[in-house]
Symmetry: C2
Subunit: 337 residues, 2 copies
């Protein structure tokens, strides 16, 4: 079978961490992708120019000479126009974690009111808003309960590009078609997992993430939208490395480490569903159009060759550790691997 | 505040294991309870007279001289009339784990057909049927999907006492009132937990059990039935000791170890809801009536004295480890503790 090629694949939601973890995981993403949207929820958060520049520098160092653009983001807080104008050229979006949004949508919207001046500025400066959209309600309901907040935002700021990050429900898929300014990312693991995989047999902490994997009909709706290359849906791995001891313990951290295996697994998944022709749009073209940017040219090739996923990358266990994937990343435009 | 006393509290669903674990946990149950229904799902299962007698002997040895009756059960398989008649006086029920029951209720009922001659014999010999009622469906739906199987059993064997074990849903609570021959046990942890406690924050493997804790409205229905001493509902801890390394790992075993803490926590819970007067029925009287047996007299007293739950019992972490409970088991009819 001929190699399969992707042009400048993008990961539109990536956690790179700092320090040793950054240096471990950044090269793995930089090998396979042409760029990624880098999440700012560090301690302290990335929410000012100095922190932004220093984190960008650390990421650049970790990437080395790979062709890979780290699309930086800020952590949401009330910003002034001067601040945003000064940083505009260095970021692709601002990430909002709406802590304290309750199941009551009216209260949720009220909690967002103090954010509205900044959201207005973002609309004027054409800075996308990236949202972790979950209420404080019951874990299986949190995302669906958040839809009225998205609706409020989409109506109040009709020119603000709003990205529903790592969507997990059929409700979010359906919501994509309701407002022209609403888009979404979806992870690999939410295209294949349900809560059954996390807690239906033995409990699987390495598959535990937030938002948690939902019902089969949710997974099916997400998968159908991805396979059909829904024009408002982008691939975002939400890849989140946690050391093994943080996953196998009495209180296990949320996050699945998919970055090094995501693309071969997506090739396998789309091929299985006879949708390989749509993968380019899902992992790159939709994002370029939605974000209005052009990544560096980078051809990434895959050969159909059964390959076992490594059991670990240093202290971190990847998604699918030890399992066989039908495809292997063979080379990029820069280097033969 | 005066001590609170329970007369011969019973645990109608208990896993005692074998070997070292049995010797660790049996005395903890024997201290607090007057008796318990002992589950037979060992390897090999308890499904013949020799195994039944040897397991009973091991349990008796582990209990020592405590006043505590281990009500023995058999693991379901097709039994002959001779077998059941010979063991009738040594058991209080037969436990059915309906492996292979699918979400399709018709297929589920069909899978039970080969069990029906034995169920008929059990009806004639007045041997209760204890059922782990879950389908093979999505983890949050498995118990509710099983209700048609209970319905089929209740109609086909109207004189067979059927106990829905460790119920977790509002559907099972409602089903209690539909057939005179259907009863249920409920655990302590399902009266207080929802899936939010297991997976809504950090993942909590020590709260992971089967059936998994469900939605708030399920927990509320279970709690209301228990607090009101629903006459067909009995306390059964489903206490299941697992060594810490089996809970904090990549594939964590299901089960919550509640036996040593269940009664003080139930006193606290019922007091908080102003329902202490109903606790005696929930933890003893209902079971005596449903099972038609009389436990040995054993008064168990509790004093209202804030007490910290031990962090561990040898290798096993108990429910609520390190938390403070408002009541403490002070003495039994036999020994001052």
């Amino acid at each position: 079978m001929a190699p399969f090629q992707l042009q400048s694949p993008l990961d539109m939601h990536l956690h790179l961490r700092e320090g040793d973890l950054l240096n471990l995981v950044a090269p793995l993403s930089a090998r396979a992708f042409a760029g990624a949207v880098i999440m700012p929820n560090l301690v302290p958060p990335v929410d000012n120019a100095a922190r932004l520049d220093s984190y960008r520098a650390a990421v650049d160092t970790a990437i080395g000479d790979a062709v890979f653009e780290p699309y930086m983001t800020l952590f949401f807080r009330p910003y002034t126009a001067d601040e945003l104008e000064a940083m505009r050229s260095r970021i692709v979006g601002i990430k909002l974690y709406p802590a304290g949004v309750t199941t009551n949508s009216e209260a949720g919207v009220r909690a967002l009111q103090e954010a509205e001046p900044t959201l207005g500025l973002m609309q004027e400066l054409d800075i996308p808003l990236l949202v972790h959209g979950e209420s404080n309600g019951f874990v299986m309901d949190r995302e669906a309960e958040f839809m009225p907040v998205y609706e409020h935002l989409a109506r109040t700021f009709p020119r603000l590009r709003i990205v529903m990050e790592h969507i997990t429900t059929r409700q979010a898929v359906a919501f994509l078609d309701r407002y022209a300014n609403v888009f979404a990312t979806v992870t690999l693991h939410h295209l294949v997992l349900t809560l059954d995989d996390v807690a239906g047999g033995l409990l699987a902490p390495h598959l535990f993430c937030k938002p948690i994997a939902k019902r089969p009909e949710d997974r099916d709706a997400l998968l159908a939208a991805a396979l059909s290359a829904h024009p408002k849906l982008m691939f975002g791995s939400d890849s989140a490395p946690h050391p093994q001891h943080s996953k196998e313990c009495a209180g296990c951290a949320a996050g699945v480490f998919t970055a090094p295996v995501a693309l071969p697994m997506l090739v396998e998944l789309f091929e299985k569903h006879d949708a390989l022709d749509n993968l380019q749009a899902f992992v790159s073209d939709n994002a370029r159009r939605i974000y209005s940017f052009t990544p560096a040219p980078k051809a990434v090739s895959f050969v159909k060759e059964a390959t076992v996923v490594p059991q670990r990358y240093a202290t971190v266990l990847p998604f699918g550790a030890g399992k066989t994937v039908a495809w292997r990343l063979s080379e990029t435009g820069q280097t033969l691997v």
